[in-house]
Symmetry: C2
Subunit: 106 residues, 2 copies
DNA sequence: CACATTCGTAAGCTAAGACTAACGGTAAGT
DNA sequence: ACTTACCGTTAGTCTTAGCTTACGAATGTG
């Protein structure tokens, strides 16, 4: 799935943020990620599953190891979502400034 | 605070995502937001506090009402973070393709 | 074939946080 | 001054989800 809201929810966890930052440098195996994180290897495995279902990482098998790397499409979907809301926020801000005495909502 | 990781954590909750989408359209008062969400008004108030501390929304008072609107700076910080990781993900992907038999991690 | 390595999954525990209800405070109207 | 409207805060409950331990599957090696 490449849903921006699902991806945002997946990146809400600090451990998953750290995993994404490591994977942004280069692809990693599960054990290599866990050795540099304050959580156990199964915990990393569970986080990788969430990130994978959110479309943020991809998996390739190399022997008994699973190599994980970032999926640029997932990151791109989030960026598009933020771009759209950023533009709309600026437009809403302009409307807010240009109409001093209005009813802003229903 | 305008930290991208804090902002991402704040946007991890579905209710806060819905609030941000409403605020992207136009500024809203707390009660107006709660009337269109499946949660109570105090819950919306708590979510708005988290979003405010994350630098994603701003507050202006108008009588007894508090008008909330998106803070473009917070959205911009998240977009910058994603841009950086998107670029690094592409670079790491190139390295991965160009080095078939390597040790991908330590 | 036996053994080691790497990893995913299941079960269980625990802590974080999302929610509601009740209360208090401030501003506008009459 | 009294009432109404709108909102933040607190206390408390309860669900969610992240973590660890234990186990089993898959691949590679001697």
């Amino acid at each position: 799935m490449t849903n921006a809201l699902t991806a945002l929810a997946a990146l809400g966890d600090p451990t998953r943020q750290a995993i994404v930052e490591r994977l942004a440098e280069r692809p990693h195996a599960v054990g290599a990620l866990a050795s540099r994180l304050p959580v156990s290897r199964p915990a990393v495995s569970q986080h990788l599953r969430v990130l994978k279902e959110a479309g943020l990482v991809e998996e390739t098998r190399s022997g008994t190891r699973r190599i994980y790397r970032l999926d640029p499409r997932g990151i791109g979907a989030m960026r598009d979502w933020l771009d759209a809301h950023w533009d709309r926020a600026l437009a809403a801000f302009r409307d807010f400034v240009e109409t001093p005495p209005g009813e802003p909502s229903e």
